[in-house]
Symmetry: C2
Subunit: 413 residues, 2 copies
């Protein structure tokens, strides 16, 4: 089945907001085995919306629309689509009482234009909105499928998950299973070369996904049943594990390295602490972004100034004087210092030149030292990360998490 | 002049990335007085790209394309557009030597497919790329304007600013001047009410821009000259300053609160240190993201565990026992503790319940205490921030920066 995404809203064309809905929907649709060939954004203009809808249905069986379901005069998606399908609008009493309840529970007054939101094309399916006032609509008519959903992502996403995922699974009669294999420590180009012979297959498909500083390989198979799809995936997955070995840290579309470290440390009942210079709090921020991090993360020191390296971590002033802040000796003392200070099992540290200024011929921008310290092991590594400040910082942060993972895996804690 | 944006890339249709380029470009084009009626996303497919291009030029005078200029086989934007305009591709020696230099300076080997990136349609203008290997292209032919730019935003944005803003200003014969007034501490709905009488004007236009947790008001005027545009903006700006007073912390599209604090502390030669619990390193990370932060930011402690609050900051175990970690007493001790530890002029702190778990009837999720400590002043504030974990953390972080700003402005350091 071919599908398109059509977003409606002048605020998108003015650049006030970005069409992040399209990314969410298109990712889900391609997981479900639908081919999405186009995304379109059009303003709150009935003529252009109608033309776009017409064009979309000439190219595709299914059009997923977002936006233009609000209570104001501008919002005309439902009216335009109902006219396109020649379906009169009719009050949906259940939707109306849900909207009434929405306002009541918030102590706000409901306006007549909000009642208008409960009008649904006759014969369509109402997609009730648990997080806002505009219900969504699903129309199946003349071999066409049209979906309308509200624009705010916090309303659209749960609606899509609740109603449309089961709908399309049933529709396509296929089960799509996708596995994401997460890799750290190899560039996209090199990884692509290594899996070139796998990416030409059409079922399962193998494709790289690049996240900043990380890489995922998506293996996606379609079959009548989940078991059959899994059977198609298994041998390819085995081969990918053989190719990448311990560069693979886990599986799952959103399974990040910090999450992997959180899980690993929880399982082993280990704790860590961080001493950051160039990453400036990103190591701490990445782990504390995850629920449950308080079990494994005890303390983070952001020691930007040399005085803080001395006072908070016990780095020796002589070392700083002799070797400099960006040096093997300094990061080793930082890692050990923060471990002892926090009473954690593991201490990690960073010190480097994130740029754009501060580089020297000896230590150019992108030079980063990282270190780890445990009771029985300590080691520092020198990285060179080309690129802009945020890239240097982000990559250094991920390298530290990979270092924790490897150290724990190798039983060096 | 009517314009459209056409983004090319299968990764957009698969949902790997979001089309944030469209937001940037469409905002700039509408500032420049162009009408943008459509955004389209199409995959790396020559036929569909050609059809989309054809359709776009039937509707609009100008098509701005992003993506598909890479070195691989998939990347076919330039070839397709050159064919559409019947312009043969020709090697641009200046672009070629820029690409060669790009690889050389990074110590990486250049492949023959990278040389292909320097092929430019004959008669077109090359838009040299300072941040990557793919040059952009500007074509004016048969009354049509076609622009191709690379997909990565860090390459596209500077290219757009350097080449296309002056190009379209000249084209449209108008100068557009926009000022952004940055506000912290008032919600969008309330701010909109206060400026309702200003937003109906068509020149200058006034529109709110919402960043996570912050608000900008954009005043944009069109005129023949820059001076005339500024004269249109001046009285409106004055009125906005009267309305919002000290909620305004600065001006500029990208002028963030942490940047404002960095500038302010540099000017006053003051330093600060942070002790974070619920924000978990975001305060440190936000300031160290900015070049020059080492002058003002001495030390950040991320004290997630109570033991770290005691050991690293000197918070009294009795206070933690009696009042809890999320309390006025604890944040005050944290702020003072980190200030003394770092030897900085200012200490700030956070402790709260970011969720999704950890809430109690007394201290529901979203309860955050923040505090500031200087030699002559200390004070704690209780916030309640409804929403998801990232929202709570981000908003608490911004409140801390606003607290620093106000404290310095009121001469309490």
């Amino acid at each position: 089945m071919n599908a398109e995404i059509l977003a409606i809203g002048t605020e998108l064309l003015m650049g006030q907001i970005s069409n992040t809905n399209a990314q969410f929907i298109t990712a889900r649709l391609s997981e479900l085995g639908l081919n999405v060939h186009y995304h379109t954004v059009v303003g709150d203009n009935a003529d252009r919306l109608k033309e776009s809808l017409d064009l979309a249905f000439r190219r595709s069986d299914c059009v997923i629309m977002t936006g233009g379901l609000g209570p104001t005069y501008d919002d005309m998606t439902k009216e335009t689509v109902a006219e396109y399908f020649n379906m009169p609008l009719k009050m949906d009493e259940a939707a109306l009482s849900q909207i009434t309840e929405y306002f009541k529970s918030r102590g706000r007054e409901m306006t007549p234009s909000n009642a208008k939101q409960a009008l649904i094309p006759e014969g369509a399916v109402t997609l009730y909105n648990k997080f806002g006032t505009a219900p969504g609509v699903l129309i199946e008519k003349d071999g066409k499928i049209a979906v309308m959903m509200p624009g705010p992502p916090r309303e659209m996403k749960p609606m899509f998950t609740e109603y449309l995922i089961p709908f399309f699974e049933k529709k396509s009669g296929v089960t799509v299973k996708s596995d994401f294999i997460r890799i750290f420590g190899m560039g996209e180009a090199e990884a692509e070369k290594k899996i070139a012979h796998l990416t030409s297959s059409s079922n399962p498909t193998v494709a790289p996904y690049v996240n900043p500083g990380e890489l995922s390989l998506r293996i996606s198979a379609r079959a009548k049943t989940k078991d059959e799809a899994e059977a198609l995936i298994a041998p390819v997955k085995k081969e990918i594990y053989e190719i990448f070995g311990d560069l693979i840290y886990g599986e799952g579309l959103t399974y990040s390295l910090p999450q992997c470290v959180l899980d690993l440390l929880r399982e082993k009942k280990l704790t860590f602490a961080s001493a950051e210079s160039c990453t400036g709090g990103m190591i701490a921020s990445a782990i504390t972004d995850l629920s449950g991090s308080s079990e494994v993360f005890l303390y983070g020191a952001v020691t930007y100034a040399n005085s803080a390296k001395v006072n908070a971590l016990g780095v020796s002033p002589e070392t700083l004087e002799k070797c400099g802040a960006v040096s093997e000796e300094t990061v080793l003392q930082m890692a050990k210092g923060v471990r002892l200070k926090a009473g954690s099992d593991i201490g990690v540290s960073t010190s480097g030149i994130a740029g754009p200024t501060g580089g020297t011929p000896d230590k150019p921008v992108g030079t980063v030292w990282i270190a780890i310290s445990t009771k029985k092991y300590e080691k520092a590594f020198k990285l060179f990360i080309p690129g802009a400040r945020d890239r240097v910082r982000n990559s250094a942060m991920l390298h530290v998490y990979d270092l924790i993972r490897r150290t724990v895996k190798e039983d060096l804690v």
